[in-house]
């Protein structure tokens, strides 16, 4: 009788513990869905639409600049060469900035002499010097190696 009672209690405990044990192993419990806020959704759509319009306007502005450049219309302050006279008509502020920042590549009244400095000689000499110095280092490192010990012949 006691044995039967023990078996019944064991079976009952197994069935009772089965559902909590399964819950521990499954781990994923889907949260309950939040109620959708229609106002927030509408706001997000409005912001996205506004961004799309802004980028569209920016694209059209670039297209306008591109069309102007193709048509030959210079931007304000751009250096324009007069093909008839070979002279350059520029805004004075632009001339000052250009003269200070860039080298002379075209004739302008009052321009500085073209930059004729070249780094090739110093590069060539540096390269030759590095080669000679490297050869010297290799040569001295070989001389510093001690002569291998001679094997003694067996008597």
């Amino acid at each position: 009788m006691n044995r039967r009672l023990l078996i019944a209690l064991s079976a009952l405990s197994i069935f009772a513990a089965a559902s909590p044990a399964a819950a521990q192993f499954t781990t994923v419990v889907a949260p309950q869905k939040k109620p959708v806020d229609q106002a927030a959704v509408l706001e997000q759509r409005r912001v996205a639409q506004a961004r799309a319009d802004t980028s569209h306007r920016a694209t059209m502005q670039e297209m306008s600049a591109w069309v102007d450049s193709v048509a030959g219309a210079p931007k304000p302050g751009t250096v324009v060469a007069d093909s008839a006279t070979g002279d350059v008509a520029t805004d004075s502020a632009t001339v000052t900035a250009t003269t200070k920042q860039t080298a002379t590549t075209r004739f302008q009244d009052g321009a500085r002499a073209p930059n004729t400095a070249s780094a090739l000689p110093i590069l060539l000499i540096t390269g030759i010097g590095m080669t000679l110095f490297g050869l010297g280092v290799i040569f001295t490192s070989r001389r510093a190696v001690p002569a291998p010990a001679r094997r003694r012949r067996a008597p």
Binding site: A81, T116, L123, V137
Partner: protein, 201 residues
Amino acid sequence: MHRRAALGLSLVLAGVALAGWAGAAYGRGWLAQSHARAEWEAKLAHAAVERARNYGASSTASLAEGAPVARLLVPKISLDDIVLEGVTAEVLNGGPGHLPGSALPGDEGNAVVSAHRDRHFRRLGELALGDTVVTETEAGRTSWRVVGRKVVHKDAPVIRRESGRVLTLTTCWPIGYLGGAPERLILRAVPLDAQSVAARY
């Protein structure tokens, strides 16, 4: 020992690469000058036809960068080079460069020719007042006499518009100096038949 050998080998490789790159640039310049000379001779052969076709047109409007535009001869320093259009580093590597927009040598205005101090104009500093310079273009040959020689700061405004025929030769100064070039050597020449212009300089 191995570290020293590796260091030496690295130095040798880097040095050979550096010197090789610089040497190759010199080689490209020499080849460009040779090519320009051949092209210039061919151009002179057809000069009469070209002049007839371009009669009345601007002589500087159609010059492409790197194209041979003149021949420069300075007997005193044994200079005989073809002048290329443009003063960019690539153009100057191949020969003396004609400043775009300036007059062609022999035309009315200021013709500006520049070159590196370590190559084509390495002996330009030997020229003195009164020395002769000869230029040759498709329009003809012009002999010039040096009437001005000065060393200015690199930012000095020395390129000026001229009413008469003027030839301006520029290079970096000091010549024979490695590194930066804080100054410029400016030589100014006028045609032998226009000595009166020299009085204004």
